[in-house]
Protein backbone atom coordinates (compact mmCIF):
# COMPACT_ATOMS: atom_id res chain seq x y z
CA UNK A 1 0.00 0.00 0.00
CA UNK A 2 1.13 3.54 -0.70
CA UNK A 3 2.69 5.73 1.96
CA UNK A 4 1.14 9.16 2.30
CA UNK A 5 3.37 11.77 3.98
CA UNK A 6 2.32 12.87 7.47
CA UNK A 7 3.05 16.55 6.78
CA UNK A 8 0.36 16.77 4.10
CA UNK A 9 -3.43 17.09 4.27
CA UNK A 10 -5.71 15.45 1.69
CA UNK A 11 -9.15 15.82 0.13
CA UNK A 12 -11.36 13.01 -1.08
CA UNK A 13 -10.58 13.94 -4.69
CA UNK A 14 -6.99 12.75 -4.19
CA UNK A 15 -5.32 16.13 -3.98
CA UNK A 16 -2.81 16.91 -1.22
CA UNK A 17 -1.94 20.23 0.37
CA UNK A 18 1.25 21.30 2.17
CA UNK A 19 0.66 24.29 4.45
CA UNK A 20 3.34 26.88 5.25
CA UNK A 21 1.76 29.88 7.00
CA UNK A 22 -0.90 31.25 4.67
CA UNK A 23 0.55 29.43 1.68
CA UNK A 24 -0.88 26.13 0.49
CA UNK A 25 1.01 24.05 -2.05
CA UNK A 26 -1.18 21.55 -3.91
CA UNK A 27 -0.58 18.38 -5.91
CA UNK A 28 -2.15 14.99 -6.54
CA UNK A 29 -1.41 11.88 -4.52
CA UNK A 30 0.63 8.85 -5.49
CA UNK A 31 -2.60 6.85 -5.43
CA UNK A 32 -4.18 9.27 -7.93
CA UNK A 33 -1.25 9.25 -10.35
CA UNK A 34 -1.17 5.46 -10.31
CA UNK A 35 -4.89 5.29 -10.95
CA UNK A 36 -4.66 7.72 -13.88
CA UNK A 37 -1.66 6.02 -15.45
CA UNK A 38 0.88 7.86 -17.59
CA UNK A 39 -0.04 11.54 -17.62
CA UNK A 40 0.13 13.05 -21.08
CA UNK A 41 -0.94 16.68 -20.61
CA UNK A 42 -1.80 19.16 -17.88
CA UNK A 43 -3.44 22.54 -17.71
CA UNK A 44 -2.94 24.72 -14.64
CA UNK A 45 -4.34 28.15 -13.69
CA UNK A 46 -2.40 31.35 -14.19
CA UNK A 47 -0.74 33.23 -11.34
CA UNK A 48 -3.15 35.80 -9.80
CA UNK A 49 -6.24 33.78 -10.72
CA UNK A 50 -8.56 32.64 -7.91
CA UNK A 51 -9.28 29.01 -7.11
CA UNK A 52 -12.33 27.88 -5.10
CA UNK A 53 -12.32 24.97 -2.71
CA UNK A 54 -13.97 21.84 -4.19
CA UNK A 55 -13.80 23.33 -7.68
CA UNK A 56 -11.42 22.44 -10.52
CA UNK A 57 -8.02 24.13 -10.43
CA UNK A 58 -6.66 22.32 -13.44
CA UNK A 59 -7.11 19.45 -15.85
CA UNK A 60 -5.04 16.38 -16.64
CA UNK A 61 -5.14 13.95 -19.54
CA UNK A 62 -3.87 10.40 -19.34
CA UNK A 63 -4.42 7.50 -21.74
CA UNK A 64 -7.58 6.76 -19.74
CA UNK A 65 -9.26 10.14 -20.20
CA UNK A 66 -9.47 13.73 -18.98
CA UNK A 67 -9.64 14.42 -15.24
CA UNK A 68 -10.38 17.64 -13.41
CA UNK A 69 -8.16 18.44 -10.43
CA UNK A 70 -10.25 19.52 -7.46
CA UNK A 71 -8.80 22.06 -5.06
CA UNK A 72 -8.74 21.27 -1.33
CA UNK A 73 -8.72 25.00 -0.38
CA UNK A 74 -9.62 28.43 -1.79
CA UNK A 75 -7.15 31.16 -2.58
CA UNK A 76 -5.21 33.23 -5.06
CA UNK A 77 -2.63 31.43 -7.18
CA UNK A 78 0.82 32.79 -6.31
CA UNK A 79 3.00 30.15 -7.97
CA UNK A 80 2.70 27.48 -10.65
CA UNK A 81 5.18 24.63 -11.07
CA UNK A 82 6.68 25.40 -14.48
CA UNK A 83 8.87 22.27 -14.25
CA UNK A 84 5.89 19.94 -14.66
CA UNK A 85 4.68 21.96 -17.64
CA UNK A 86 8.05 21.18 -19.25
CA UNK A 87 8.23 17.56 -18.06
CA UNK A 88 4.84 16.17 -17.15
CA UNK A 89 6.40 12.81 -16.17
CA UNK A 90 7.43 14.36 -12.82
CA UNK A 91 3.80 14.10 -11.64
CA UNK A 92 3.96 10.32 -12.12
CA UNK A 93 7.47 9.88 -10.73
CA UNK A 94 7.40 12.23 -7.72
CA UNK A 95 3.81 13.29 -7.03
CA UNK A 96 4.21 14.30 -3.37
CA UNK A 97 7.25 16.50 -3.80
CA UNK A 98 8.72 17.90 -7.03
CA UNK A 99 5.46 17.04 -8.82
CA UNK A 100 3.59 19.79 -6.90
CA UNK A 101 1.27 21.85 -9.08
CA UNK A 102 0.32 25.23 -7.64
CA UNK A 103 0.73 27.37 -4.53
CA UNK A 104 -2.22 29.38 -3.24
CA UNK A 105 -2.41 32.20 -0.76
CA UNK A 106 -5.29 30.80 1.26
CA UNK A 107 -8.36 32.98 1.76
CA UNK A 108 -9.78 30.91 4.62
CA UNK A 109 -7.42 28.65 6.53
CA UNK A 110 -10.39 27.16 8.43
CA UNK A 111 -11.08 25.15 5.27
CA UNK A 112 -8.11 23.01 6.29
CA UNK A 113 -10.20 21.62 9.17
CA UNK A 114 -12.32 19.66 6.68
CA UNK A 115 -9.35 17.84 5.12
CA UNK A 116 -8.05 14.39 5.97
CA UNK A 117 -4.74 13.66 7.66
CA UNK A 118 -2.48 10.96 6.22
CA UNK A 119 -4.00 8.19 8.34
CA UNK A 120 -7.57 9.17 7.44
CA UNK A 121 -6.64 9.46 3.77
CA UNK A 122 -4.93 6.07 3.88
CA UNK A 123 -8.15 4.51 5.23
CA UNK A 124 -10.22 6.35 2.62
CA UNK A 125 -8.02 5.06 -0.20
CA UNK A 126 -8.06 1.53 1.20
CA UNK A 127 -11.85 1.56 1.13
CA UNK A 128 -11.92 2.97 -2.40
CA UNK A 129 -9.34 0.48 -3.66
CA UNK A 130 -11.37 -2.38 -2.21
CA UNK A 131 -14.41 -1.43 -4.27
CA UNK A 132 -12.38 -1.06 -7.48
Amino acid sequence: MKVFPDDLLYNREHAWVRVEGELATIGITDYAQEKLGEILAIELPEVDSYVERDEPFGTIESAKGVFELISPVSGEVVNVNEDILDDIGIVNSDPHDTGWMITLEMSDSEELDDLLDSREYHDFVLKEAESD
Binding site: K35, D54, P56, T59, E61, G65, V66, F67, E68, D132
Partner: protein, 264 residues
Protein backbone atom coordinates in the same frame (compact mmCIF):
# COMPACT_ATOMS: atom_id res chain seq x y z
CA UNK B 1 -21.63 19.23 -26.26
CA UNK B 2 -23.35 21.83 -24.10
CA UNK B 3 -26.18 19.41 -23.26
CA UNK B 4 -23.72 16.64 -22.34
CA UNK B 5 -21.71 18.93 -20.10
CA UNK B 6 -24.86 20.40 -18.49
CA UNK B 7 -26.10 16.90 -17.58
CA UNK B 8 -22.60 16.00 -16.33
CA UNK B 9 -22.29 19.13 -14.12
CA UNK B 10 -25.79 18.72 -12.74
CA UNK B 11 -25.10 15.06 -11.95
CA UNK B 12 -22.18 16.17 -9.76
CA UNK B 13 -24.74 18.08 -7.69
CA UNK B 14 -27.84 15.89 -7.82
CA UNK B 15 -26.49 12.33 -8.18
CA UNK B 16 -29.30 11.74 -10.71
CA UNK B 17 -29.63 8.31 -12.35
CA UNK B 18 -27.33 7.66 -15.34
CA UNK B 19 -28.14 9.20 -18.72
CA UNK B 20 -27.59 7.75 -22.19
CA UNK B 21 -27.94 10.24 -25.05
CA UNK B 22 -27.79 9.65 -28.80
CA UNK B 23 -27.30 12.33 -31.42
CA UNK B 24 -26.03 13.06 -34.88
CA UNK B 25 -24.57 16.30 -36.20
CA UNK B 26 -25.86 19.12 -38.39
CA UNK B 27 -23.85 20.72 -39.86
CA UNK B 28 -21.12 18.06 -39.98
CA UNK B 29 -18.38 18.83 -37.48
CA UNK B 30 -14.91 17.86 -36.41
CA UNK B 31 -14.71 17.42 -32.66
CA UNK B 32 -11.34 17.81 -30.97
CA UNK B 33 -10.20 16.23 -27.71
CA UNK B 34 -9.82 18.56 -24.72
CA UNK B 35 -6.08 19.00 -25.05
CA UNK B 36 -5.71 18.87 -28.82
CA UNK B 37 -4.25 21.80 -30.71
CA UNK B 38 -6.59 22.97 -33.46
CA UNK B 39 -3.86 24.14 -35.78
CA UNK B 40 -1.89 20.91 -35.39
CA UNK B 41 -4.83 18.51 -35.78
CA UNK B 42 -7.36 20.13 -38.12
CA UNK B 43 -7.19 21.69 -41.56
CA UNK B 44 -9.27 24.74 -40.64
CA UNK B 45 -9.35 26.05 -44.22
CA UNK B 46 -10.62 22.72 -45.57
CA UNK B 47 -13.29 22.65 -42.84
CA UNK B 48 -14.51 26.08 -44.00
CA UNK B 49 -14.52 24.90 -47.61
CA UNK B 50 -16.61 21.83 -46.75
CA UNK B 51 -18.83 23.82 -44.30
CA UNK B 52 -17.69 21.61 -41.43
CA UNK B 53 -17.84 23.15 -37.95
CA UNK B 54 -15.08 22.67 -35.37
CA UNK B 55 -15.97 22.05 -31.73
CA UNK B 56 -13.82 21.09 -28.77
CA UNK B 57 -15.07 18.30 -26.51
CA UNK B 58 -14.77 18.35 -22.71
CA UNK B 59 -13.59 14.72 -23.02
CA UNK B 60 -10.12 13.57 -24.03
CA UNK B 61 -8.95 11.64 -27.05
CA UNK B 62 -8.41 12.43 -30.69
CA UNK B 63 -10.15 14.35 -33.45
CA UNK B 64 -13.34 12.84 -34.89
CA UNK B 65 -15.23 13.79 -38.04
CA UNK B 66 -18.95 13.63 -37.25
CA UNK B 67 -20.72 13.40 -40.55
CA UNK B 68 -22.09 9.91 -40.88
CA UNK B 69 -21.87 8.75 -37.30
CA UNK B 70 -24.07 8.10 -34.31
CA UNK B 71 -22.64 9.84 -31.26
CA UNK B 72 -23.54 8.65 -27.79
CA UNK B 73 -22.89 10.14 -24.36
CA UNK B 74 -23.10 8.22 -21.09
CA UNK B 75 -23.17 10.27 -17.89
CA UNK B 76 -23.15 8.46 -14.56
CA UNK B 77 -21.83 8.54 -11.04
CA UNK B 78 -18.63 6.53 -10.51
CA UNK B 79 -20.48 4.84 -7.65
CA UNK B 80 -23.48 3.76 -9.67
CA UNK B 81 -23.65 -0.04 -9.40
CA UNK B 82 -24.32 -0.38 -13.16
CA UNK B 83 -20.70 0.55 -13.81
CA UNK B 84 -17.51 -0.69 -12.14
CA UNK B 85 -15.70 2.01 -10.15
CA UNK B 86 -12.42 1.62 -12.04
CA UNK B 87 -11.88 3.74 -15.14
CA UNK B 88 -11.06 1.06 -17.70
CA UNK B 89 -13.87 -1.08 -16.33
CA UNK B 90 -16.44 1.53 -17.43
CA UNK B 91 -14.98 1.58 -20.96
CA UNK B 92 -15.27 -2.21 -21.00
CA UNK B 93 -18.89 -2.30 -19.83
CA UNK B 94 -19.99 0.45 -22.25
CA UNK B 95 -18.14 -1.20 -25.14
CA UNK B 96 -19.96 -4.42 -24.25
CA UNK B 97 -23.28 -2.53 -24.51
CA UNK B 98 -22.34 -1.06 -27.91
CA UNK B 99 -21.11 -4.46 -29.13
CA UNK B 100 -24.46 -5.91 -28.06
CA UNK B 101 -26.19 -3.19 -30.10
CA UNK B 102 -24.06 -3.91 -33.16
CA UNK B 103 -24.83 -7.61 -32.87
CA UNK B 104 -28.53 -6.70 -33.17
CA UNK B 105 -27.55 -5.44 -36.64
CA UNK B 106 -25.68 -8.65 -37.41
CA UNK B 107 -22.22 -7.14 -36.81
CA UNK B 108 -19.79 -9.13 -34.68
CA UNK B 109 -17.47 -6.71 -32.87
CA UNK B 110 -14.64 -7.67 -30.54
CA UNK B 111 -13.00 -5.60 -27.85
CA UNK B 112 -9.48 -4.29 -28.16
CA UNK B 113 -7.75 -4.23 -24.76
CA UNK B 114 -5.56 -1.52 -23.32
CA UNK B 115 -2.91 0.37 -25.24
CA UNK B 116 -2.70 1.88 -28.67
CA UNK B 117 -1.48 0.42 -31.88
CA UNK B 118 -0.86 2.41 -35.03
CA UNK B 119 2.50 4.20 -34.98
CA UNK B 120 1.76 6.26 -38.10
CA UNK B 121 1.51 9.97 -37.26
CA UNK B 122 -1.58 10.67 -39.26
CA UNK B 123 -3.32 7.55 -38.11
CA UNK B 124 -2.51 8.53 -34.54
CA UNK B 125 -4.17 11.93 -35.03
CA UNK B 126 -7.49 10.47 -36.18
CA UNK B 127 -9.52 8.99 -33.32
CA UNK B 128 -10.78 6.03 -35.28
CA UNK B 129 -7.38 4.85 -36.34
CA UNK B 130 -5.96 3.90 -32.94
CA UNK B 131 -8.04 1.40 -31.00
CA UNK B 132 -7.58 1.61 -27.24
CA UNK B 133 -9.50 1.34 -23.96
CA UNK B 134 -11.63 -1.68 -24.88
CA UNK B 135 -12.74 -0.10 -28.13
CA UNK B 136 -14.52 -2.16 -30.73
CA UNK B 137 -13.01 -3.81 -33.77
CA UNK B 138 -14.81 -5.60 -36.55
CA UNK B 139 -12.52 -7.83 -38.58
CA UNK B 140 -9.57 -5.93 -37.04
CA UNK B 141 -10.94 -2.56 -38.17
CA UNK B 142 -12.13 0.08 -35.72
CA UNK B 143 -15.85 0.92 -35.78
CA UNK B 144 -16.30 2.96 -32.63
CA UNK B 145 -14.13 5.48 -30.71
CA UNK B 146 -14.63 6.67 -27.16
CA UNK B 147 -13.21 9.06 -24.56
CA UNK B 148 -14.00 10.16 -21.01
CA UNK B 149 -14.05 13.14 -18.69
CA UNK B 150 -14.12 12.54 -14.93
CA UNK B 151 -14.64 15.01 -12.13
CA UNK B 152 -16.12 14.99 -8.63
CA UNK B 153 -17.20 11.36 -8.81
CA UNK B 154 -19.05 11.58 -12.14
CA UNK B 155 -17.97 10.42 -15.59
CA UNK B 156 -18.99 11.48 -19.07
CA UNK B 157 -18.13 9.09 -21.88
CA UNK B 158 -18.43 10.19 -25.48
CA UNK B 159 -18.46 7.60 -28.20
CA UNK B 160 -18.89 7.73 -31.94
CA UNK B 161 -20.18 4.77 -33.95
CA UNK B 162 -19.37 5.05 -37.64
CA UNK B 163 -22.44 4.70 -39.81
CA UNK B 164 -20.50 5.36 -43.00
CA UNK B 165 -16.87 6.30 -43.48
CA UNK B 166 -15.20 8.58 -46.00
CA UNK B 167 -11.41 8.18 -45.64
CA UNK B 168 -10.66 10.75 -48.35
CA UNK B 169 -12.68 13.49 -46.66
CA UNK B 170 -11.30 12.53 -43.25
CA UNK B 171 -7.78 12.90 -44.65
CA UNK B 172 -8.64 16.26 -46.17
CA UNK B 173 -9.98 17.64 -42.88
CA UNK B 174 -7.56 16.22 -40.33
CA UNK B 175 -3.85 17.02 -40.22
CA UNK B 176 -1.04 16.42 -40.88
CA UNK B 177 -1.37 17.12 -44.58
CA UNK B 178 2.24 16.60 -45.52
CA UNK B 179 1.99 12.95 -46.61
CA UNK B 180 0.59 11.41 -49.77
CA UNK B 181 -3.16 11.91 -49.29
CA UNK B 182 -4.08 8.92 -51.41
CA UNK B 183 -1.78 6.64 -49.43
CA UNK B 184 -3.06 8.00 -46.12
CA UNK B 185 -6.68 7.51 -47.19
CA UNK B 186 -5.86 3.94 -48.20
CA UNK B 187 -4.24 3.26 -44.81
CA UNK B 188 -7.23 4.75 -43.02
CA UNK B 189 -9.60 2.68 -45.15
CA UNK B 190 -7.64 -0.39 -44.10
CA UNK B 191 -7.98 0.31 -40.38
CA UNK B 192 -11.50 1.76 -40.05
CA UNK B 193 -14.90 0.33 -40.94
CA UNK B 194 -18.54 1.36 -40.61
CA UNK B 195 -22.00 -0.09 -40.05
CA UNK B 196 -22.84 0.31 -43.74
CA UNK B 197 -19.68 -1.48 -44.85
CA UNK B 198 -20.30 -4.38 -42.47
CA UNK B 199 -24.01 -4.76 -43.10
CA UNK B 200 -23.52 -4.31 -46.83
CA UNK B 201 -26.53 -2.05 -47.10
CA UNK B 202 -27.79 1.26 -45.84
CA UNK B 203 -29.12 1.20 -42.27
CA UNK B 204 -31.02 4.23 -40.95
CA UNK B 205 -29.55 6.09 -38.00
CA UNK B 206 -32.84 5.46 -36.15
CA UNK B 207 -32.40 1.71 -36.52
CA UNK B 208 -28.79 1.88 -35.33
CA UNK B 209 -29.87 4.00 -32.39
CA UNK B 210 -32.64 1.54 -31.54
CA UNK B 211 -30.20 -1.40 -31.75
CA UNK B 212 -27.58 0.26 -29.53
CA UNK B 213 -30.23 1.26 -27.01
CA UNK B 214 -31.27 -2.39 -26.92
CA UNK B 215 -27.61 -3.34 -26.42
CA UNK B 216 -27.43 -1.17 -23.29
CA UNK B 217 -30.72 -2.51 -21.96
CA UNK B 218 -29.72 -6.15 -22.43
CA UNK B 219 -26.14 -5.86 -21.17
CA UNK B 220 -27.06 -3.81 -18.10
CA UNK B 221 -30.42 -5.54 -17.56
CA UNK B 222 -32.26 -2.22 -17.40
CA UNK B 223 -35.17 -0.51 -19.09
CA UNK B 224 -34.24 2.91 -20.45
CA UNK B 225 -36.84 5.62 -19.98
CA UNK B 226 -36.95 8.65 -22.26
CA UNK B 227 -36.49 11.93 -20.46
CA UNK B 228 -35.88 15.60 -21.11
CA UNK B 229 -33.59 18.18 -19.55
CA UNK B 230 -34.47 19.55 -16.14
CA UNK B 231 -34.88 23.33 -15.81
CA UNK B 232 -31.42 23.51 -14.23
CA UNK B 233 -29.82 21.47 -17.03
CA UNK B 234 -31.59 23.61 -19.63
CA UNK B 235 -30.35 26.82 -18.08
CA UNK B 236 -26.78 25.50 -17.70
CA UNK B 237 -26.87 24.26 -21.32
CA UNK B 238 -27.69 27.78 -22.55
CA UNK B 239 -24.88 29.25 -20.47
CA UNK B 240 -22.39 26.68 -21.72
CA UNK B 241 -23.49 27.22 -25.32
CA UNK B 242 -22.99 30.97 -25.12
CA UNK B 243 -19.84 31.05 -23.01
CA UNK B 244 -18.08 27.97 -24.28
CA UNK B 245 -19.24 25.79 -27.14
CA UNK B 246 -20.28 28.59 -29.50
CA UNK B 247 -17.17 30.53 -28.61
CA UNK B 248 -14.10 30.37 -30.86
CA UNK B 249 -11.86 30.90 -27.86
CA UNK B 250 -12.89 27.52 -26.49
CA UNK B 251 -13.24 25.68 -29.77
CA UNK B 252 -10.00 26.92 -31.31
CA UNK B 253 -7.81 27.61 -28.26
CA UNK B 254 -9.36 25.55 -25.47
CA UNK B 255 -9.99 28.50 -23.18
CA UNK B 256 -13.18 29.85 -21.66
CA UNK B 257 -13.40 33.39 -20.41
CA UNK B 258 -15.71 33.45 -17.42
CA UNK B 259 -14.88 30.31 -15.48
CA UNK B 260 -18.20 28.66 -16.30
CA UNK B 261 -16.49 25.64 -17.75
CA UNK B 262 -13.55 23.54 -16.78
CA UNK B 263 -10.74 25.67 -18.13
CA UNK B 264 -9.34 29.04 -17.17
Amino acid sequence: MAIDEAIFRENQRTYAPPTLRFYSWSPPSVSLGYFQSTCKEVNVEACRRYSVDIVRRPTGGKAVLHENDLTYAVIASERNPLFPPDILGTYKVISGCVAGGLSELGIVAEMKGEGRSNPDDFLKAACFSSPSRYELLVKRKKICGSAQLRSKGVFLQHGSILVDFDPVKTCALLLPQDGDQTQLAKKLHGSVTSVHEQVGASVSIENICHAVKKGFEKKLDIKLVEGCLTLEEESLKLRLMNDKYMNDKWNMEGKVQDGSGNSD
